[in-house]
């Protein structure tokens, strides 16, 4: 039996680690950023182990874009107890591997089992580990780096002693690392293994002389050459492993290079400017370790560890992201934009763990304790120790609970109703798109066979609509500003291209854009998610395209990763057993020879540490002060107005109310009533983007100012000026309350009669295709006019159409431009300049813009600010000489709110100023004006649309002010109904039988005469979006 005792610190660390993390993951892991994605991948392997092609996301993608080991492990375990069982089991294994890994790595560095035990304890609570596991959910990364740490002693021993056993062991572990996470071994080579080799060389040199001091550069080089053979053998072997183990990954990377536009990542921000990124990617990963950073550096810059010292310095600097220009220069533009830099901080913090363990050991029972007690006394030492331990634990629990206090994900969604919806009535024959799901979209994907155009692993995106944009998902496109919403709008406008028929909306924000792109609500599921549907979409073809890969790659991908685990287990199992059970006296590994004795803690270092902590405290205090000053809300009229809008934007009504002049006696309930009665695009769907205050009139006690606000809405960017009066009372500025509309609706109680519609769908309950007689006839439409126009160097199609049928119609207008050789130049659908749902005999004007897949070309400057209404017009090099229009009507049953009257209109100074009056019983959230312009011959010239900022409440008025366009450079190129088709048939054929004698004069009577620039008449049509139908 061994005389060596079990390391009680390590055992304690393992026990605490499993209990602490093992129980916490059940509350955190599923709301992390990545865990659900890993689960989705695992599900893929569990259902089709050898087939790398997955149809669920991005119109199909290959899972060979991510090393498979962790996913396959979860997948295998899921066969035992389900996906979540697999996920949690792998997570717990990861925790164990990490703690033991830190222990072995520390043992290698310090050669002291007690110190290594302390390091393992520190590792359990280290905030970088807590963050990686409980906030990011990066299991492969954790497993990868843990195995790498296990591998390091073996590498050391191979180079030092040249025992084949160690080399085999090192290779077996490295292979597991490679199969878990590709980035870890590649960068781990540079940042962990190179310094390790340096340390070995240093140690071997040390054996030739009496102390590290005597090692000179020459000796170092000589030793290096002596060991070079082993180093090369190891290096070449690892290279072969890196290439071989995940060979299909490299083949795939070559075949599908990541040519996409980089996605912004918080770790590349300037942490001083974007403090939230600073918190997530710098402050939290470093945590309390940052306070002892001078000690870590001091130790790593001692001669033995000098290579580690250089490595950790580089890691620390690279981890600062965009705060300093150095990472960009070191990595180069390309790597800087592809890598997430937080991993450098993670590695730096992991690298500091041995030294932190050592520090803690010396503080608690070593020379540092003695030094402090001698210098400052017992009590100071106790306080210091308690503060250190306390803050360490506090930081760990702060990190683990961050997701609870500041949720990173939308509320947990019950996916069962969605899965049921997709399974019933063959809904899974179309693609769907979740909106506002967060990473939970991956959960849904792993539970259903239905496919989505979106996805959650952005490196695998294939559609140019997605890869050309810096958006990781369509699902959260509102957070990606212009590019996000622009991209989403294209998917929603031309959904037939992707067989996209259903949208699951978990975020009201997207509702208006869905409506104006021609979608309608289908039903609200039990979990509160609204299903939107678009008509006239063909189901997915039975056979979908896929990229085929050779069988040997599939076999490699399916067999090698699991094989590496089996081999690593077989190679290392003996030593694990011996070590754990102490069955056999094992010779102490070679690195135990280089133990440092902790006898005299340098006093200078104590001073430096105190100074460092002091500096950090000063910086924190300064930061706190700055935050306070920036938030001093009432020191000037500008500040109070800004704060007022900020408060309103976040719906902090109480705070907003506190800025209102207290003498105005406006009660909070009255204030809230007044601010919340108004619905509309600004009040319900807008996010304040910028605010600029201009003072109009100013005195000491009173100011009139205008707040120029800029709001982001799903439809467009809105600039609106608000006039405010502010007043000074007791040295504080207040806002005088706005006057509220006093308009009284005429009726207290009213009734309304409407025609409502219902579609049976399949009348017989059957799983077969809908019976022939249950298929509704498509409503007949007639295109009344169609013109190809050129406006501002852009080609567009404008026209008017009417629903001739007796059933209401959902209208899709698709137009294509051709050159004189009938070659197709561009094709697109009418987006929001059309009324998509029209009643029998209703007409609507329409406009088709030909949009380019936005920013497909790199040279086109991307707009820096967000304007969803903006798009890249398709660059049509040739002059189109012909066009066609394919319109399709389908029976619609909802969204025909017509009870809004244009009750007043003034045409002055090139503006249309009017009043809308809502006489129905639904509150109109976003009224849209479709303004058609006509020439003096009453020929249609142009169609424009305008979203009225505020909604129209029942029996109330709403004013609008629309600026007429200058159409002097708008010209009609071609006016023709020749190539217009309705439901696939020529436009005229059926229309003539329904309306044989169309009264053309009547249509012209409806045009308002104006004196416009380039036009003489306008026509106003209304398209009303009801946000909350009652």
């Amino acid at each position: 039996m061994s005389t060596e005792k079990s390391n009680k610190y390590l055992i304690a660390a393992l026990l605490i680690g499993v209990v602490f993390h093992g129980s916490a993951i059940f509350f955190t892991l599923e709301s992390t950023y990545d865990a659900l994605i890993h689960m989705f991948f695992a599900n893929h392997y569990a259902t089709s182990w050898f087939e790398p092609w997955n149809y669920s996301w991005y119109t199909g993608f290959t899972v060979m874009g991510y090393p498979p080991l962790v996913h396959q492990a979860i997948g295998l375990l899921s066969l035992l107890g389900g996906l979540k069982f697999g996920l949690f089991t792998v997570a717990i294994i990861g925790i164990l591997l990490f703690i033991t890994g830190v222990y072995r790595y520390t043992l290698l560095i310090t050669a002291d089992r007690t110190v290594a035990g302390y390091a393992a304890l520190v590792a359990v609570f280290s905030s970088s580990f807590v963050e990686t596991l409980h906030i990011f959910g990066q299991l492969p990364s954790i497993v990868g780096v843990s195995i790498l740490m296990h591998c390091m002693p073996e590498i050391y021993l191979w180079i030092k002693t040249g025992k084949i056993k160690n080399l085999l062991s090192a290779f077996s572990l490295l292979a597991v690392t490679i199969c878990s996470h590709h980035v870890t071994p590649i960068f781990g080579m540079v940042f962990f293994i190179f310094p390790l080799i340096g340390t070995v060389v240093m140690d071997v040199s040390r054996e030739k002389v009496n102390s590290y001091k005597e090692i000179r550069f020459k000796l170092f080089v000589q030793t290096l050459f002596k060991l070079l053979k082993r180093i090369i053998i190891f290096g070449a072997g690892s290279l072969v492993l890196i290439v071989f183990c995940i060979f299909p990954y490299w083949v795939n990377s070559k075949a599908n290079p990541i040519t996409q536009v980089p996605i912004p990542h918080g770790s590349r921000d300037n942490f001083l400017e974007v403090t939230s990124s600073g918190l997530m990617f710098f402050v939290i990963p470093w945590g309390i370790l940052f306070f002892i950073l001078p000690y870590v550096f001091y130790r790593y810059f001692s001669k033995r560890y000098i290579c580690f010292g250089l490595s950790i310095t580089l890691l620390t600097i690279l981890g600062t992201g965009g705060t300093t220009p150095i990472p960009l220069k070191v990595l180069g533009e390309n790597a800087f934009n592809i890598l997430t830099l937080d991993r450098f901080t993670l590695w730096a913090s992991i690298m500091s763990l041995p030294m932190s363990g050592e520090f803690v050991y010396r503080l608690i029972e070593g020379d540092l304790k003695t030094a402090i007690q001698n210098k400052f006394g017992n009590i100071y030492h106790r306080i210091l120790g308690a503060a250190f331990a306390g803050s360490f634990l506090f930081f760990a629990s702060f990190t683990i609970t961050l997701g609870y206090f500041r949720p990173f994900q939308p509320q947990k969604i019950n996916t069962l109703p969605l899965v049921n919806f997709l399974n019933q009535d063959q809904h899974d024959q179309w693609r769907y798109l979740p909106l506002g799901f967060g990473d939970q979209m991956a959960t849904l994907s792993s539970q259903t066979n239905a496919k989505t155009v979106d996805g959650n692993y952005h490196s695998a995106r294939r559609l140019p609509e997605l890869t050309s944009r810096a958006i990781e998902r369509l699902e959260n496109s509102k957070f990606r500003g212009m590019e996000g919403i622009g991209s989403l709008q294209q998917f929603l406008t031309v959904p037939e291209k992707y067989n996209l028929k259903y949208v699951f909306s978990n975020d009201k924000f997207y509702d208006p854009i869905l409506y104006f792109c021609g979608w309608h609500r289908l039903s609200q599921l039990e979990n509160g998610i609204m299903v939107w549907e678009r008509l006239n979409i063909a189901p997915l073809p039975k056979v979908l395209p896929k990229d085929e890969v050779p069988v040997y790659l599939k076999l490699m991908w399916g067999i090698i990763p699991i094989l590496t685990i089996i081999i690593a287990f077989m190679v290392n199992v003996q030593s694990i057993f011996f070590k754990a059970l102490k069955l056999k006296e094992e010779p102490k590994p070679d690195f135990f020879k280089f133990k440092v004795s902790y006898t005299r803690f340098p006093l200078k270092l104590i001073s430096v540490l105190h100074l460092w902590v002091l500096i950090l405290f000063i910086i924190m205090a300064f930061g706190g002060y700055k935050t306070y000053v920036a938030n001093a809300t009432q020191i000037s009229p500008e500040n109070v107005v800004k704060s007022y809008y900020d408060a309103l934007d976040f719906k902090f009504y109480e705070k907003a109310h506190s800025f209102i002049d207290p003498r105005s006696k406006l009660s909070i309930s009255q204030f809230m009533l007044e601010t919340s009665v108004a619905d509309g695009i600004l009040n319900s769907y807008a996010k304040l983007d910028a605010i600029e205050i201009q003072i109009v009139k100013k005195t000491d006690q009173r100011t009139t100012l205008v707040a120029k606000t800029k709001w982001i809405t799903p439809l467009e960017i809105i600039n609106k000026d608000y006039y405010h009066e502010t007043i000074k009372r007791n040295g504080k500025w207040f806002i005088l309350p706005q006057k509220t509309p006093l308009d009284i609706p005429p009726d207290q109680f009213l009734s309304s009669n409407l025609t409502e519609y219902y579609k049976q769908g399949r009348r017989k309950i059957t799983t077969q295709q809908t019976y022939h007689e249950d298929v509704l006839k498509q409503p007949e439409l007639e295109i009344l006019s169609a013109k190809l126009i050129q406006y501002n160097n852009e080609y567009m199609i404008v026209g008017e159409l009417q629903n001739l049928d007796n059933s209401p119609a959902d209208v899709i207008v698709k137009s294509t431009l051709y050159n004189k050789y009938d070659k197709e130049l561009a094709t697109f659908n009418a987006k929001d300049a059309i009324k998509h749902k029209i009643l029998p005999k209703e007409t609507t004007s329409f406009k088709v813009n030909f949009e380019e897949i936005s920013w497909l070309k790199k040279e086109v400057n991307k707009p820096t600010t967000f304007n969803p209404n903006e798009y890249t017009p398709k660059n049509i090099a040739e002059t189109p000489s012909n066009f066609d229009i394919q319109s399709a009507g389908n029976v619609a049953i909802t969204d025909f709110y017509i009870q809004v009257a244009l009750s007043d209109l003034v045409v002055e100074n090139n503006h249309l100023k009017g009043t809308l009056f809502n006489y129905g019983i639904q509150e109109v959230t976003v009224p849209e004006l479709i303004v058609s312009y006509y020439t003096k011959e009453k020929e249609l010239l142009y169609v424009d649309h305008y979203f009225v900022r505020e909604g129209v409440r029942v029996q109330r008025k709403q004013y609008f002010d629309y600026k007429l366009l200058d159409l002097t450079n708008c010209k009609i190129i071609l006016s023709s109904l020749e190539n217009c088709f309705v439901n696939g048939l020529p436009n005229k054929d059926l229309a003539q039988t329904i309306v044989p004698n169309r009264n053309k004069v009547m249509e012209k009577e409806l045009l308002q005469k104006v004196n416009g620039k380039g036009f003489s008449y306008v026509k106003i049509e209304l398209n009303n979006y009801i946000g909350n139908p009652k």
Binding site: L742, T755, K777, N806, P840, K841, V995
Partner: protein, 409 residues
């Protein structure tokens, strides 16, 4: 000798056998089956025979289901082929080629005809399922009578096509041609549901339906109703169409959109919309807030219209009081009183134009509350010594004197 004879005989036999074995050419094989027509669903056997023992061969079939090869069965000098059951159930012409040793040695064809002995089935298609009233529109009923094996019956099979509309039931006899019997069933002048069915022998179809929906609207009239005739900017005028019908007197389809265009005195077009219910569309319009004459005309765009009507609104007030208070810094307009001397409903727009030396400086708009509208001119913002004002409300404009103001330091 006898021995020799036996040996010779044996040799002869061998020779003959060898000859038989090797001279099995096409000329020696002939088709036994003379039948050229087979009934679907019955077994079909094609038999060939030869004078001598035959060698096996394949029968290559071209059938409407596709091409296939059938292996034969040799029975001495007979060669039999059994057509697969699936093929034997399907009507049509079948071509065959007899292939022996990769050589085509015979060919021919036969026909499979529908099996009239089995119960008749009938397959139907009707479309479109909605048509308009009138003489020009029709829906087409297609009937395909088949035998039990889904083979269309031979041409000239009799099919009855029946349709019902209101009290009127029509039965037409049609003969199938090219497998189908069809009829264009013309629309009627009344709207409603038409039921259609077919029959062939004992086979009956289910009930099919086509909705006859009204044709486009014809001209109509409009009318209005309101609570009072005053332009108070608050009450509602209801615009109502007569019952809109198509040319045959059917109510137009529910939900037909009617646009009411309102022309003001200043030739501005206002609009309100309504959809019909039982032929009547009722739209609403807010009263103007000043004296006005509206000309209203309604349209079903491109199809029908009404004659214009005129609606006159009387001014609510002829005059209104105003006063200057608090060193002329507060201007109170009102009380605005209405036609019965009651206070006007809240929210009446009052506009104040501020002039200094005949130059417009600012326009302020305030809504009335309890009949009063208050404007406050704060000294710091209005520093001049005199202003003149123009107040407009409910279509009445009043210009004040030039009002002096104390100087502001």
């Amino acid at each position: 000798m006898k021995k020799i004879a036996v040996i010779l005989l044996c040799i002869c036999c061998l020779v003959v056998f060898a000859v038989v074995k090797t001279t099995n050419t096409a000329a020696t094989i002939k088709l036994d089956t003379s039948q050229k027509k087979f009934t679907a669903g019955t077994p079909i056997l094609i038999q060939f025979s030869s004078l001598r023992v035959v060698k096996n061969a394949d029968l290559f079939l071209i059938h409407s289901y596709g091409k296939t090869i059938v292996k034969g069965k040799v029975d001495k000098n007979k060669l039999r082929f059994s057509i697969p059951e699936l093929y034997a159930k399907k009507t049509g012409t079948v071509s065959w080629y007899l292939i022996q040793d990769r050589k085509n040695i015979a060919a021919g064809q036969f026909e499979i005809v529908p099996n009239d002995a089995t119960p008749t089935l009938i397959e139907n298609y009707l479309g479109p399922t909605t048509i308009l009233t009138g003489q020009d529109h029709y829906t087409m009923m297609v009937a395909i009578p088949t035998d039990s094996y889904d083979n269309p019956k031979t041409d000239n099979t009799t099919v009855f096509i029946k349709d019902q509309f209101l009290d009127d039931i029509t039965v037409t006899t049609k003969k199938t041609a090219d497998f189908i019997a069809w009829k264009n069933i013309y629309s009627r002048t009344a709207s409603g549901k038409m039921l259609i069915s077919t029959q062939c022998n004992t086979a009956l179809s289910k009930e099919f339906e086509t909705d006859i929906t009204p044709s486009i609207a014809t001209n109509f009239t409009i009318d209005y109703a309101r609570n009072h005739q005053f332009a108070d900017g608050n009450q509602i005028t209801r615009l109502r169409t007569s019952v809109i019908k198509d040319q045959f007197g059917n109510l137009v389809g529910d939900g037909t959109l009617v646009t009411f265009q309102v022309t003001t005195k200043n030739n501005i077009f206002l609009k309100t919309f309504a959809a019909t219910i039982n032929g009547v569309a009722i739209a609403q319009l807010l009263h103007p807030d000043h004296q006005e004459i509206y000309t209203v005309k309604a349209y079903v765009t491109g199809m029908a219209e009404s004659k214009p009507i005129q609606i006159a609104y009387q001014a609510l007030i002829r005059d209104f009081p105003y006063q200057f208070l608090e060193k002329n810094r507060k201007i109170v307009v009102g009380p605005l009183t209405s036609f019965m001397n009651q206070i006007v409903p809240d929210g009446i727009k009052v506009e104040l134009k501020i002039f200094h030396k005949n130059k417009l400086i600012e326009t302020k708009i305030v809504e009335s509350a309890k009949g009063l509208a208050t404007f406050i001119l704060l000294p710091p913002f209005y520093k001049q010594s005199a202003y003149q004002f123009e107040i407009t409300t409910l279509g009445v404009t009043k210009k004040t004197e030039t009002i002096p103001y104390e100087n502001y330091q």
